[in-house]
């Protein structure tokens, strides 16, 4: 049993890994809060509404440990800087809905970190069962600042400035500083009531009252903050979040396979081959790298296989998520990931947030129409690519796109072709070092080839 690297801040308990399972150890100091949380029906109501991860209590015979909880186990842990706009927005609204339910039952969220949300069955769920405390009467919401930094500021920046600014959450693990958000937001946001209040004026208040004593608030008695003010605050945050919108470029990515590749026959044939191979392999989990909007990921997810669809383009991830949400897909999770610069280990001792490749290993990796991007646009040698895929998983479906292909030619049109060893033969030689090629299927109306590979034993 070992404590997880991120689990050291909250004195109520800790998250530990034991025998391949994640458990939550609850300390006696949290007992009154936990008992109220369970007895008030809040826990059950949130679990029933699909807002909170369910847990069971593991037997514990100790005076020093109040409880050991076994939450439902997650397939993969994702982080806010890997979410698209709507994923972060849904996570924010989930947090606020939970806080509303909690206050209605005399409880309160004592933190509002975006890292407390994970995507389970295609929906955002709250995973920190120990975040609930008995509502401290007459006091403002201690997590207000954290909510604004973790959710409202990045959402406002993504919506009003540029969706790529969501990456600020990667450099600012405790949320985007409000003064920074205030500086980066366009002037028009000063005319929007709740952005004015919760970002711009809030940032000014932080600067002005940084050294102030909260008990000396002008004209206010300490402890007189009303529940109506608290509920109004939550509602105003909800309005602020709901007012933020961003539309991905559906015109470009929605018709991508019809307009930029080689047409419907190619896509249909590829879907057919991938489906056959998925049937044959019956994988337990799939990572689709360079998944675009998840057209091929859905072939695996549709079979009930937990599937992660990684792409470096936020428009694609957004479209993939919105489509999945609309269809109620439970097994597909689109995530933002630049494969040439994936999420690193971050935080204290580089152990708070895990690097991408530390968070799991799929049964099957799919890399469709990806190799030419990595090899021709990023100068990655083919043998290094084979090493990378072999490190990821034992089975691989990979597509080779030759230089003669129109999409590959686009990558080379403005630069010198320094890739004399980028041929199908070179590709096969490089990948045979790590994999056995079990099948190779040429794709209709193109010179592309789809491969099914198995990693050599002992690698």
């Amino acid at each position: 049993m070992e404590p997880l690297g991120a689990s050291f801040r909250d004195p109520s308990g800790a998250v530990v890994r034991s025998g391949g399972e994640i458990l939550r150890v609850v300390r006696p100091v949290y007992q009154p809060h936990y008992e109220r949380f369970m007895a008030s029906g809040l826990c059950q109501a949130l679990v029933d509404a699909g807002l909170l991860i369910p847990h069971t209590e593991v037997e514990s015979r100790s005076d020093e440990i109040f409880k050991v909880l076994r939450p439902r186990q997650l397939e993969f842990v994702s982080y806010p800087y890997e979410w698209s706009f709507s994923q972060l927005k849904d996570a924010a609204l989930t947090t606020l809905r939970i806080q509303k339910e909690a206050v209605a039952r005399g409880m309160n969220l004592k933190d509002a970190s975006a890292f407390n949300i994970q995507f389970l069955d295609g929906r955002p769920v709250f995973i920190d069962t120990l975040s609930f405390e008995i509502l401290p009467e007459g006091r403002p919401w201690a997590a207000y600042q954290q909510f604004c930094r973790h959710f409202l500021a990045p959402l406002a920046l993504m919506s009003r400035r540029d969706p790529r600014l969501g990456q600020l959450s990667r450099t600012h693990l405790d949320g985007v500083p409000l003064d920074l958000a205030s500086k980066l937001l366009p002037p028009g946001t000063w005319a929007r009531l709740w952005l004015l209040v919760h970002v711009h004026l809030h940032a000014r208040s932080q600067r002005r009252h940084a050294d102030a004593d909260p008990a000396s608030a002008p004209g206010r008695r300490a402890g007189s903050y009303s529940l109506r003010s608290l509920l109004g605050l939550i509602q105003s945050l909800e309005s602020a979040v709901n007012s933020l919108r961003w539309s991905p470029q559906k015109a470009v990515w929605g018709a991508y396979y019809q307009t930029t590749v080689t047409g419907g026959d190619y896509v249909r044939r590829k879907q057919q081959v991938v489906s056959q191979w998925l049937e044959r392999l019956n994988p337990r989990s799939v990572w689709d790298l360079g998944a675009n909007t998840g057209v091929f990921s859905r072939l695996a997810a549709g079979r009930g296989v937990p599937t992660l669809a990684f792409d470096g383009d936020i428009d694609c991830v957004e479209i993939g998520y919105l489509e999945g949400r609309q269809r109620g897909e439970r097994h597909l999770l689109p995530l933002l990931m630049d494969l040439t610069n994936p999420s690193p280990a971050l935080g204290w001792e580089c152990r708070e947030r895990m690097a991408w490749l530390e968070r799991g290993q799929p049964d099957l990796v799919m890399a469709l129409a990806l190799v030419h991007h990595l090899a021709l646009a990023n100068n990655l040698p083919l043998d290094r690519l084979a090493d990378f895929f072999a490190r990821l998983g034992a089975r691989l479906i990979v597509e080779f796109v030759p230089k003669a292909d129109s999409n590959a030619r686009k990558l080379l049109r403005a630069r010198e072709d320094i890739f004399p060893r980028y041929t199908r033969e070179d590709f096969e030689i490089a990948f045979r070092r790590r994999f056995a090629i079990e099948a190779a299927e040429p794709m209709a109306n193109s010179e592309r080839v789809l491969y099914l590979m198995r990693r050599h034993e002992g690698q």
């Binding site: 004195p11 150890v25 206050v103 401290p136 403002p140 009303s226 109004g232 605050l233």
Partner: protein
């Protein structure tokens, strides 16, 4: 003796649990810094947010009354309306 109490979780587990118990503090509430400026700011805008609550409650009641008037029995059920937008508990 303490270690024996954790034995059922596995021996390494006992050490970890003991470590957790020893190094953490005893206060379970409000472990994050609310920020003095953020804390005061909520107090300063308390009147505004109370108004938000007041008007949204008013709007809910008006919507419920209109639905009741036009015979939408389900939505007019006061308990259900209240459940959708919970009111604060009595202190």
């Amino acid at each position: 003796m303490l270690m024996n109490r954790f034995e059922h979780l596995g021996r390494p587990a006992a050490w970890v649990c003991l470590g957790i118990w020893l190094v953490t503090t005893r206060d379970a509430q409000a472990y994050i810094d609310p920020g003095a400026g953020s804390y005061l700011f909520q107090i300063l805008i308390a009147g505004l947010t109370a108004l938000v609550f007041f008007f949204s409650a008013l709007r809910r009641k008006a919507v419920a009354a209109i639905k009741r008037l036009f015979g939408n029995g389900d939505a007019a059920n006061p308990a259900e309306v209240e459940a959708k937008e919970p009111l604060p508990p009595k202190p």
